[in-house]
């Protein structure tokens, strides 16, 4: 992981928050807006250090709240907690499998809104909650899950394009080379 990937993650988070605010397609089609930050956090937690996860959760959460009616800073901790958990158990996760990425994004996108709503209720806010909130939650979870493999693909390509790639180890070993022909005569 390098600084370029951290900057790219922050840039994509910034653009994602902007798109969530300005694009109405999903909202008009499904009645809910998809949140892309949990999917990004899932990617960052599997591919970067905990410091990158912390910076992404802090800046992403603050950007999200600045365009929302949420109290400023309320989204930071839910994002970080999910990123922290994935980062802690990342050795146990099959990060290269597409379905694993989808399920990870699904779980992150499902948990972040729940934690955020719990934080909002804890802070004494009165968010819009009804039976259709379950539908919105489903749309957010599946949408976030679907975008997670896209982010993995995008950042992997970015890494391949801009990062130094070490040459793969060759299986050739000079000491096991078969010498053909006569053994040279050795003078004593």
């Amino acid at each position: 992981m390098n600084w370029l990937n951290t900057v790219a993650l922050l840039l994509v988070a910034y653009l994602a928050v902007f798109c969530e605010s300005s694009c109405r397609g999903f909202r008009n089609l499904f009645g809910a807006q998809i949140d892309l930050l949990p999917a990004l956090i899932a990617y960052a937690a599997l591919s970067a250090g905990i410091s990158t996860v912390a910076v992404l959760a802090t800046l992403g959460g603050l950007w999200f709240d600045s365009l929302s009616a949420n109290p400023l800073g309320i989204s930071v901790l839910p994002l970080f907690v999910v990123g922290f958990a994935i980062h802690y158990w990342r050795e146990l996760i099959l990060r290269d499998q597409r379905y694993a990425q989808f399920l990870l994004g699904l779980a992150a996108s499902a948990l972040v809104p729940v934690f955020t709503l719990l934080s909002l209720f804890g802070a004494g806010a009165d968010p819009l909650m009804d039976w259709w909130s379950l539908w919105r939650w489903l749309v957010m979870s599946v949408g976030g899950g679907a975008f997670t493999p896209v982010f993995f693909c995008l950042f992997d390509r970015l890494n391949r394009a801009f990062s130094y790639q070490p040459l793969p180890q060759t299986s050739f070993r000079p000491d096991r080379e078969i010498k053909r022909g006569r053994v040279p005569h050795m003078d004593h």
Binding site: Y14, L15, V17, F18, E20, S21, S22, R24, R27, N28, G31, A32, Q33, D35, G49, I50, S51, V53, A54, A57, T58, L62, W63, F64, D65, S66, L67, S68, A69, N70, P71, L72, G73, I74, V76, L77, F80, F84, Y88, P113, T116, L117, L120, A123, D126, P127, L128, M129, D130, W131, W132, S133, W135, R136, M140
Partner: protein, 272 residues
């Protein structure tokens, strides 16, 4: 066992969150608008791109379509001018009667046009961002509307952008009155509240209507002027259906909003 860097990261994030959440309301609002201001270049670029796309679309409109549109607008203009003459006469008569009765004179609303540049990314609020702010003399709690009716009120004001809480948000409850279909007489009063049972963002609940009121589908709902924020008589919507609550003590109704909040592009702010 957690590593040391986990503790440091968790501690730092927790510290930032606690500091930001415990800021005084005014400072938190300023910080929020300042951070939101980082997105203004992108919102500006999106607006310019949309304008360019609109202009490009107009370039390809045929001459006959433009002439037909011109003809339609001319007729509409003539109709509106005749209506304006009638309205001016009614306004003058109304002012004379108010003067005769010693009532306070009504002033025309100074309106400021604004463009909707963003929506709330969270699904549990209904707010929008508009491109007018302190530099345009916009203040908190000013009313936002369209020619169709009420949109909401301003909650936070930045230098060049403002947050508007929409009708149907939990933070935008207000008193309304229901008018008869025929003579516009007042049927009852109630409170507009978010709908608890509809995915449709254009449906809101009308609650605390006294039992026995003659509520009927189709009746128009307008602001009552109680509460001091929304002026009296702004169109809110119309009654869709009515149900009895609390063993007939109260009535509840669903109201279809007059303004399509899903496709807001331009709004007006009443500078009062």
């Amino acid at each position: 066992m957690l590593k040391r860097q986990y503790y440091i990261a968790f501690g730092l994030v927790l510290f930032v969150v606690l500091v930001v959440l415990n800021l005084p309301d005014q400072k938190a609002a300023r910080l929020k608008l300042a951070i939101g201001g980082l997105f203004l270049p992108l919102f500006g670029m999106a607006g310019s791109a949309q304008n360019l796309a609109d202009q490009a679309g107009k370039t390809f409109t045929s001459r006959s379509a433009l002439l037909a549109e011109l003809d339609r607008l001319r007729r509409e203009n003539q109709q509106l001018q005749s209506q304006l003459l009638q309205a001016q006469e009614a306004w003058r008569e109304n002012a004379q009667l108010r003067r005769a009765l010693g009532w306070q004179q009504r002033a025309l609303w100074p309106l400021k046009p604004a463009r909707v540049i963003g929506h709330d990314p969270a699904n549990w609020w209904r707010t929008i961002l508009i491109d007018v702010g302190r530099r345009d003399e916009v203040r908190t709690n000013m009313v936002v509307l369209t020619p169709d009716g009420l949109v909401g009120r301003i909650t936070h004001v930045g230098f060049s952008q403002s947050h508007v809480v929409l009708v149907g948000d939990p933070n935008c409850r207000f008193s309304v009155q229901i008018q008869q279909l025929t003579d516009k007489g007042i049927v009852a009063k109630g409170i507009i509240s978010p709908s608890a049972s509809s995915l449709d963002r254009l449906l809101v609940d009308l609650i605390f209507v006294p039992g026995g009121s003659l509520l009927k589908p189709g009746q128009s709902v307008v602001t009552s002027g109680d509460g001091g924020i929304f002026p009296k008589g702004l169109a809110v919507g119309h009654v869709v259906d009515v149900r009895t609550n609390d063993f007939g003590l109260n009535l509840e109704a669903r109201v279809k909003l007059a303004v399509n909040l899903n496709h807001l592009e331009h709004v007006w702010v009443i500078l009062q």
